[in-house]
Amino acid sequence: MSTLDQPVMQKKDYKTDQEVRWCPGCGDYSILNAVQGAFAKLGKQLHETVIISGIGCSSRFPYYMETFGFHTIHGRAPAIATGVKVSNPALDVWVVTGDGDSMSIGGNHFIHALRRNVGLKILLFNNRIYGLTKGQPSPTSEHGKITKSSPLGTVDYPFSPIALALGAGGTFIARGVDVFGPHLENVITKASSHAGTALVEIYQNCNIFNDGAFKGFTDKEVRDESILYLEHGKPLLFGAQKDKGIRFDNNFQPMIVSGSSLGSAFVWDETAVNVAPAMALATMSETEFPVPVGVFRRREKPTYETAIQNQIAAAQQKKKESLRDLLRAGEIWDVK
């Protein structure tokens, strides 16, 4: 992306003159910080980057990044971004969306972007709530959640964005956490280098309407025991001493192993053809098992925009037609 003659970017270069207007303590601040960190490491040029968002607290993101930014309408960012990327593949196109924006009203565009493998980097800020509209349940809110619009608790069941993305055929699927700065930065960096659609689900705390949604497994005290860091080629181990592991029984049922049987821990391959293992991890119960973060899936696959460009290039090779000839195609006749 950035070539020699271009300036080296510092983290601060990505900051805009607009004052950041999230609630004090909102997880979005740390995500903004991680993104700017990753962009600086990758040396992204400001003018080569486009950030497209929908509507939601999270979707205010573009205003705080000194790149091209388009704050669009609720749920449609992936569709708009597809138009941008397909018509100008040279651009580095990012989508910033929320769990309501992407899983609720924007669910269709979300799964279709993944299906087509358009070269978009999607950052899904999942706070399991509608922040901007002041606290209704989202499709990722836990079953039974009590909110203004569900005073007796929600009766619907949450999506796992990771599972949904796997079902839709996504080629890069990962998860990060707002408070795991360096890890998040790293995941974002990996996403950036993936050619096709890259989804990064980011657990984000909304301290106003859903405070502590993730503390159960992200708090400093519990973190080590309750987070499973996915590392390519390494066994699925967790715990401060990496003394516990995950293996699967013959029915693909995950189980926690330790001690002598630690060796049976499943060796993680983020590039596996088969989505089943990733699916098994994505659907593990948060309460009985550690929560996986990192890369669930990473598969190379031709992107939508390159395929289109190739078709066009080939067609242009094969057939040259002037506008005049085009209009005269088919039967024509002259009147004197």
Binding site: Q18, R76, I80, S87, L326, I332, D334
Partner: protein
């Protein structure tokens, strides 16, 4: 079939000269009526007649063979003079089965020629066509010149020497009928022979079969006693130049592509299939060699959204659809209004509301185009009025969109989309230029102002992502003028609402004066827009011939309206406006000009017939005379 004047053919059968003929081919969906009509059209165009066509498809879903809903028809009218519509009642009806007869006989002119295929008149066939008894045995057919031919038997005979299976042979019976008509109307078979060779190139036996069937039909007509006279329609005096027969959807695509090349913009179409707009997606998809990008989206919202993204990235974003899809695009079009990006939205209207009658035509989406969004959300709206006109309208839409940085909605309809007419090819070098200037690289330190406007048009700069020094943020929330920063200030909002409105209003400054048929003052002014143009013009001309002080004008620009419209209307005692809706443009004109514009409304999914309009206008003129007494 007026003005017969007898002469003689080589085969001393009568040969009559006619100045115009209306033919309607009607048969089962499977009988290839569209193809037959298309062949007759091409041949006739090549022979220099003026011609207009009107295909009438059955409902989207395929109906069982031989049933009434399964009937497909194609009407064409050709002439030795300038015509404006495919005609009202046919002079000649080709009915391939009882169902076709049942549906279309009522429209055949008195004394008209009925070419009836007798192959399929079994009791079952009659039952499928909801005939209690065989119409040939009661007086249903009296008053017409009936020619009965067992097309199936004849075709099989003609193709006896070929090894094709029977079903394939039977599929050639339409060509046999075509051959008969070619003889009757003195048409040249060569173009069709060429066409068959192209169409079935890979299957020589099919080429041979189709051509053989046609020739057999021709010979049959020439030799048998059944046909006493052939008819000749002399070429029409047409403006010199190179012509091509074209359908509305085709012309629209070509207009867009031409504009793309003239402006140097890459075209991006985001679309979702829908009748009768799908062919636009199909055709533009075949222009990859011209650099056109087409994206079949998951739905209409994604389609328009992707087009907005394309325009944002510096290409020309286009989206095509019909009524129900248009409804879905409303919110996103509002975003384009706010972002002040160029965007071309094509609505090929069909009969609504809701799913309505997808294969039938209507003009009832005008108010939706102008008012169908939340908030004060002004866009430009223009309409195509004939198949050939769609070329210019497509071209003009692009010019306005990029020149004024505004969404342009183009209204066409099913009648224009699938109808065809000869098109005088434009000189590509003479097409108006479409200058596009993207914002230049920014100077370091200087902040780019995305809403700093062109003082004349009020258009904002078009800043291509990827351009150094232009990074900026825009969005659908109200913004401060010039800087584009989010702004909730009351005065700023009023200013922006007014500015967006004024920007669209300014479009009318650059418009040519309204073209009228007839003088710019008189008793009665007939206004129209879209596909009613042909019928309105034809009716007006006839009444002018009768000496009435009547003129007509067909509006291309519907929002903003032309600046000279008010003055034009005030030059007449009365203004009448035929619309295929319940008076949508009528309402806009009445509100704006407080003139008692009278709407002649028809909302039945069919185009106006010239004589219907003519009759209405006659009464209106009579009313005026009354008033004067």
């Amino acid at each position: 079939m007026q003005t017969p004047n007898s002469t003689h053919t080589s085969l001393d059968k009568g040969l009559q000269d006619l100045d115009q003929v209306v033919i309607r081919f009607a048969g089962d969906s499977g009988d290839g009526m569209q193809l037959t009509g298309d062949q007759f059209t091409r041949t006739t165009a090549l022979m220099g007649n003026d011609i207009a066509t009107f295909p009438d498809f059955p409902a989207e879903i395929r109906a069982p063979a031989g049933t009434l809903p399964g009937v497909s028809a194609f009407q064409l009218r050709f002439s030795s003079y300038d015509i404006h519509t495919p005609g009202d009642a046919p002079d000649v009806l080709v009915a391939m089965n009882p169902a076709a007869l049942k549906v279309h006989l009522k429209e055949l002119k008195k004394d008209g020629i009925l070419l009836l295929n007798t192959a399929s008149f079994s009791p079952l066939d009659l039952k499928k066509a909801k005939y209690e008894k065989d119409p040939r045995n009661d007086d249903s057919l009296s008053g017409f010149r009936v020619i009965e031919v067992d097309l199936e038997a004849r075709t099989r005979e003609a193709l006896a020497h070929l090894t094709l299976d029977v079903r394939a042979k039977d599929r050639c019976k339409n060509m046999y009928a075509l051959g008969i008509l070619y003889w009757m109307f003195h048409r040249d078979m060569e173009p069709t022979i060429k066409a068959m060779a192209q169409k079935f190139g890979k299957k020589p036996e099919l080429v041979e079969a189709n051509v053989a069937a046609m020739k057999a039909g021709y010979a049959y007509a020439e030799t048998t006693e059944v046909f006493q006279t052939a008819y000749r329609v002399a070429p029409a005096p047409m403006k010199p130049g190179t012509y091509r027969n074209i359908m509305g959807n085709q012309a629209l695509c070509l207009g867009l592509v031409a504009a793309g090349q003239k402006s140097g913009l890459k075209l991006f179409l985001g679309s979702y299939p829908i009748t009768p707009a799908s062919d636009i997606l199909h055709q533009l998809s075949s222009y990859k060699h011209l650099g056109v990008v087409t994206f079949q989206a998951e739905d209409e919202i994604a389609a328009v959204a992707s087009a907005i993204g394309a325009s944002y990235s510096g290409c020309l974003g286009i989206t095509s659809t019909s009524g129900p899809g248009m409804a879905l695009k409303a919110e996103a079009i509002g975003l384009a209004v706010m972002a002040e990006l160029p965007l071309v939205v094509l609505n090929v209207q069909r009969a609504g509301p809701s799913t309505g009658m997808p294969t039938k035509t209507q003009q009832a989406d005008l108010l939706q185009a102008i008012c169908g969004r939340n908030g004060e959300s002004p866009v430009c709206v223009i309409a195509a009025s004939t198949p050939a006109d769609a070329f210019e309208v497509g071209y003009e839409a692009v010019r306005i969109a990029v020149n004024h940085m505004v969404p342009v909605i183009v209204l066409s309809d099913g009648y224009i989309a699938n109808g065809s007419e000869p098109w005088l090819l434009p000189d590509v070098d003479k097409l108006p230029a479409i200058p596009v200037t993207f914002a230049a690289e920014g100077t370091p330190g200087a902040k780019f102002m995305p809403y700093e406007r062109n003082p004349e048009t009020l258009a904002r700069p078009w800043a291509r992502p990827g351009t150094k020094g232009l990074v900026h943020r825009i969005g659908g929330i109200e913004k401060q003028d010039v800087t584009g920063n989010i702004c909730y200030d009351a005065d700023n909002h009023q200013h922006m609402v007014d500015t967006r409105a004024q920007k669209v209003a300014n479009i009318s400054n650059g418009l040519p004066p309204i073209e009228t048929v007839g003088p710019r003052t008189g008793d009665l002014l007939v206004l129209g827009w879209g596909s009613t143009r042909g019928a309105i013009t034809a009716a007006t001309l006839r009444l002018q011939e009768e000496g009435h002080k009547i003129s007509c004008a067909c509006l291309r620009y519907l929002n903003p309206l032309p600046n000279d419209l008010g003055a034009l209307m005030r030059g007449f005692k009365r203004v009448v406006l035929p619309e295929m809706n319940k008076g949508q443009l009528t309402m806009l004109l009445r509100a704006k000009f407080l003139i008692d514009v009278q709407c002649f409304s028809q909302v039945n999914g069919q185009p106006f017939k010239t004589h219907e309009i003519q009759q209405y206008l006659k009464q209106s003129l009579a009313g005026l005379r009354e008033a004067r007494r």
